[in-house]
């Protein structure tokens, strides 16, 4: 798949994962890379950028084993952005699917 295309999708994935619960970095990276082929390190620049844009806040929380972990929490602003991206994504995939259906039934 085309690189530019996937990068935008990565943003949507991160936002969606944080919609229902707060998560820490490793967890986010793992959930995404289970489903999509990514260089895992690139999620961190994305997390920092979205934090700077006030879509997330972060806090540290102790873990049972070892040092504390940085958790990401979706802000209201981030949730609005998620809904917007989600709508765009749905419209886009429906459009493509519709087109594929038409083409396939033509043949």
């Amino acid at each position: 798949m085309n690189i530019q295309f996937k990068k935008g999708v990565l943003e949507l994935c991160v936002l969606a994962l944080l919609d229902k619960q707060d998560r820490y970095g490793y967890e986010l990276v793992q959930r995404i890379s289970d489903n999509i082929a990514i260089s895992e390190g690139s999620v961190y620049p994305l997390l920092r950028r979205l934090t700077k844009e006030a879509y997330f806040t972060t806090y540290l929380q102790e873990s049972k084993e070892g040092p504390s972990r940085k958790y990401y929490h979706l802000t209201d602003q981030g949730r609005d952005y998620l809904h917007q991206l989600n709508e765009e994504w749905k419209a886009f995939t429906e459009g493509v699917n519709e087109l594929l259906r038409e083409v396939v039934s033509d043949e």
């Binding site: 798949m1 085309n2 690189i3 530019q4 996937k6 990068k7 935008g8 990565l10 943003e11 820490y24 970095g25 490793y26 967890e27 990276v29 890379s33 082929a37 990514i38 260089s39 895992e40 390190g41 690139s42 999620v43 961190y44 620049p45 994305l46 997390l47 920092r48 950028r49 700077k52 084993e65 070892g66 040092p67 972990r69 940085k70």
Partner: protein, 186 residues
């Protein structure tokens, strides 16, 4: 690559960032390695999945320089931001460098016209000094008129430059979101 090698490479690539920000980033990756190893992965495996430290650093630097250029749009900051975004990948060389040169050309051109018009009476006087017999009163009045026009052009350019730079920085941010970095295979 071992964890230590990965962290060292990343730290070296981020040397231009402020200390606090660099520490914060290194802390994130430290945590990533730590959790990964708790889940039974070895250092080399985690480092390989993370990808190239240099590529990660490039993205972080591009975002950082762009923020700075947005806060304070002086020549140095804007150039560093453009350079950092171009560094992200070949695609950006085309879609950033091309428009950048065009925009820069327009700005430089506009200012050159404005300033040249403003100083035109000096050029007329210079001409008189070098070739005293060619002096015509019309030249002097015309050039004073040009000074007025030049002042208007320069004032216009002042606002246009600010506006264009702001717009271009927005374009760069859009590029960072869109372009490359981090995704395996095309």
């Amino acid at each position: 690559m071992s964890k230590e090698a990965f962290m060292r490479k990343l730290e070296r690539a981020l040397v231009k960032l402020p200390v606090a920000e660099r520490q914060d980033i290194l802390e994130d990756f430290h945590e990533h390695f730590h959790v990964g190893m708790q889940e039974g992965k070895d250092e080399a495996e985690i480092a390989a999945a993370l990808g190239s430290p240099n590529q990660i650093a490039k993205e972080l630097l591009a975002t950082y320089y762009l923020d700075r250029a947005g806060e304070e749009s002086n020549v140095g900051n804007v150039f560093r931001a453009v350079w950092a975004v171009i560094g992200l990948g070949f695609f950006n060389l085309v879609v950033v460098l091309g428009p950048f040169i065009a925009v820069l050309g327009c700005i430089v051109g506009g200012w050159t016209v404005g300033v040249a018009f403003i100083v035109s009476p000096i050029l007329v006087l210079l001409n008189v000094i070098i070739y005293p017999d060619t002096f015509r009163l019309f030249d002097l009045f015309a050039s004073i008129g040009l000074t007025g026009v030049g002042l208007f052009i320069s004032i216009g350019m002042f606002y246009a430059t600010r506006f264009i730079v702001k717009l271009f920085i927005r374009y760069l941010s859009y590029n960072i979101k869109l372009v490359k970095g981090g995704l395996k295979h095309a």
